[in-house]
Amino acid sequence: MNKLSATSQSFVDACSISETELPWLNSLKKCGIEEFSKVGLPTLRNEAWRYTSLKQLERLDWQKVAEDYEVGELSWLTSGDSYKLVIVNGKFNYSLSEISGFPEGAFIGSLSEALGSHSELLETHLGRIATSKDSPLLALNASHMADGYVILLSKVQLTKPIEILNVGRTDGQAIAYHPRNLILLDQLSRATIFERCTGQNTGSYFMNSGTEIFVDQGSHLQHHRIFADGPEAIGVASTGVRVGSDANYTSLVLSDGGKLLRNDVRIHLSASGAETKLGGIYLADDGQHVDHTVLIEHEMPHTKSEQLFKGVLSGKARGVFQGNIRVHEGADGSDGQLTNKTLLLSPGTEVNSKPQLEIYADDVKCSHGSAVGELDEEELFYLRSRGIPYTQAKSILVESFLSEVIDEFNLGELADTFHQRITDWIRAD
């Protein structure tokens, strides 16, 4: 066993697993801490983490979230007609959430509540879609899991979107929290979820979230996310998704906040007809480090995946994209496509792109493409020759480069929000 780093050890020490009435939950947490104690926080030697160092975590003394924090004013992306969830420092906040009128028989609420009301369902899925073996961070999350949100839909087609707001807020002290979320859609259910991570105040927080999603039996989930954490935030968002027969998981992710973000997504296409479509936009500026890592597992025949990730880096930012399409033996008729493009706007930026194909079946159609470079000189010149000033020409080109990703998704009223974020980022840059 390797010696753990001081921070890894402190996380192990801080873990106190109180025996609950649910033996399966106790053992889930115990397995988590056992697994984490074996490996600790990943280092660059870990192939999956070769481009993202968590050394920054070692600099601070992370405390548990003690009490409920006061929250400042909240802004919402959706208009009035939506279900709204608020999670503050990993804790579900009922008084700020608006969930009334949620369809009969479906569930939306906190993990703690769901453990009481839907214990059997949770036992079947929790910790099994995203396991502690998948990554050390998920193991850490399992061992510390206390709260988060749970959404359970069976034979339910939601007519209103759900908006989830994860707020990180700290006043000085560096805090670490590990929310665990679960979304289950079964039997032709439909839902659209807009999820956002934001920071209030400017303190340091380490959000280590674990989200498990199962979209089964013809269900469709649209799950669009914005990572806009505070400037001192370190975020690791691990998401495990299982897509069942004729089901579909669609997700567009935009990240522009935080000091360090690792968005780690692993999707299991676990039955015939399962499909997923992922989009990503990453914007990073001076000193920011952003990492989008995606693993698609084509486990069964006739499954389909599409990925389009585009990023723009400026200042001393570093961007990482790792995308792997893995087609298992026997998963014939798999179709996997991946594209990653990154624009570098200034010297000092760094990009690492690792698109991978891992194919163990022969009747497949898989491809990936990756491109890195600056703005096209010729296009810039063309715009300028038409009288458009340099900075404006640059903005136009960057915007159109990124808009292509947004246009691939049906975001409804949220499309403007995504476009606006891009415009704002370019202006600030």
Partner: protein
């Protein structure tokens, strides 16, 4: 391209691994195993200067501190480095023949059987002007056309001879591209390397003929650790080819070579390999473990290094011919075909490290997996902060034949320069049913049709090979895939 035209005829005419025979010849061995004494033994055998022995010992001691790399997508039982001979030389070749007339007739017959003529008056497959260095187990047994080359100032011959005759060149360049501590297998090679080829092309000289080294492993339980060094001075050009074969044996034999290339201003080195080490049988028994470090340094401005490889042999291939693009405007190329069948495993690719301004690189890799084999392309493209205007284009395509094999593509793209541009594309697919049916409807039998389609798939790479190798390579493509359809 006429060579392509011949494919089908040749595929028919050649049987399976025809290089699997053993030459019955008296050989001298070092004691079995690996130790500092063995390193000294090899150095003494070669009558090496003290600096070289020291260099070897240092490498050996460092090797002892290193771990065998485990990141490649290959699996094999632990290698017992003490269960092999690190030196084996035909007794007749011990002193090194003064001329071709002195070479043991048994050896000449061996090379003839391999299709490598060592008589200068003979020509290779109808193509003139190929000078050959023949390396048999641990020693070079013959080099042809030495005099003709010497007239142009070109030095071409065994490394051990270069150590004696041109120590200053060897000392200056050996280890300058691949340092002794570079990696586990390079360190091992540095400690126990026996022979290999040395090439020096003087300033402004276009080498008048193709240079070629033919590597042959013959003895049982023996590893081959050759070291090749090619130096191209300002404005010079050389095309170098290597071929390799080994007998069919049930055991796994280790081949850990190091190749270093240095290209100065305006110089160009074209390095081609047709690797056909014994791949093991259809049950995965035997075959060569091929762990090779090949690297070229484009030190001068406008220099160019081009690697072309056709990898069909070996049970395991671990090999990443790379280019360090130091000089401004320098160019690196990597063209590769890797075919695996039965239980073969290949993890191969390249590294293009862009340091200088306006450096460019091009990677074309074609992988074909059949049987129960696994084939991985692994490549790194790195743009350093000063590589203004750097350019890379990479195309990786994999073809799968059968349900039990795997094909993997793992590119690493790293850029620290906004003005550099990197483009990478990859595809994986199987031979389309309609392509096969189309060929068969025209009367072409299934195996031939596969050879034809696969050769087409590899064409971009094969056409980079010098003519006489292209023909052989195309035959190999067909042969390597024999039995891949049931």
């Amino acid at each position: 391209m006429p060579a392509i035209n011949e494919t089908v005829d040749q595929v028919k005419s050649v049987e399976k691994y025809k290089y699997g025979f053993v030459t019955d010849i008296d050989s001298e061995f070092a004691p079995k195993g690996l130790s500092e004494d063995i390193v000294r033994f090899i150095s003494a055998k070669k009558e090496e200067p003290a600096w070289l022995l020291e260099w070897r010992i240092k490498a050996y001691r460092h090797w002892l501190t290193m771990d065998e790399p485990d990141w490649a997508k290959i699996g094999y039982p632990p290698i017992d480095y003490n269960d092999a001979y690190y030196y084996s030389a035909p007794k007749s070749g011990d002193e090194g023949p003064e001329s071709l007339d002195e070479v043991d007739p048994e050896l000449l017959a061996t090379y003839e059987k391999l299709g490598i003529p060592l008589h200068e008056q003979e020509v290779l497959a109808g193509v003139k002007n190929v000078a050959i260095d023949a390396v048999f187990d641990s020693v070079s047994v013959a080099t042809t056309f030495k005099e003709t080359l010497a007239e142009h100032g070109v030095i071409f011959g065994p490394m051990s001879e270069a150590v004696k005759n041109h120590p200053e060149l060897v000392q200056k360049y050996m280890g300058s591209v691949v340092p002794t501590a570079d990696n586990y297998f390079a360190a091992l090679n540095s400690a126990v390397f026996t022979d290999g080829s040395f090439v020096f092309i003087p300033k402004g000289v276009r080498c008048p003929m193709e240079l070629s080294t033919y590597f042959r492993i013959n003895a049982a339980n023996t590893g081959q650790f050759e070291r090749t060094l090619i130096i191209a001075e300002e404005g010079s050009y050389v095309s170098y080819l290597e071929g390799c074969t080994a007998p069919m044996r049930d055991e796994n034999q280790l081949h850990a070579a190091v190749v270093e290339l240095v290209a100065k201003d305006d110089a160009e080195i074209k390095y081609s390999t047709v690797q056909n080490w014994y791949p093991g049988d259809e049950n995965g028994v035997g075959g060569i473990y091929n762990f090779v470090t090949k690297r070229g340094a484009c030190r001068g401005k406008n220099s160019k290094i081009s690697w072309t490889q056709v990898e069909t042999g070996s049970a395991i291939t671990w090999k990443y011919p790379s280019c360090i693009l130091q000089g401004d405007n320098s160019v690196g190329e990597f063209y590769s075909v890797a075919i695996t069948n039965n239980f073969q495993q290949a993890d191969t690719g390249t590294k293009m490290i862009h340091l200088g301004k306006n450096t460019s690189s091009r990677i074309i890799a074609k992988g074909i997996s059949a049987g129960k084999s696994q084939s991985t392309y692994r490549g790194l493209v790195k743009m350093m902060p000063k590589a203004d205007g750097g350019r890379n284009f990479t195309q990786c395509d994999s073809l799968l034949i059968g349900k039990e094999c795997g094909a993997h593509t793992i590119p690493y793209i790293e850029s620290k320069n906004p003005s550099a541009r990197v483009e990478h594309e990859a595809t994986t697919s199987k031979i389309a049913d309609d392509q096969l049916f189309y060929c068969r409807q025209r009367g072409i039998a299934e195996e031939e049709a596969i050879a034809l389609i696969v050769n087409g798939f590899c064409r971009e790479v094969l056409q980079e090979l010098p003519m006489e190798f292209a023909v052989e390579a195309q035959k190999l493509v067909g042969i390597s895939l024999e039995g891949s359809v049931g």
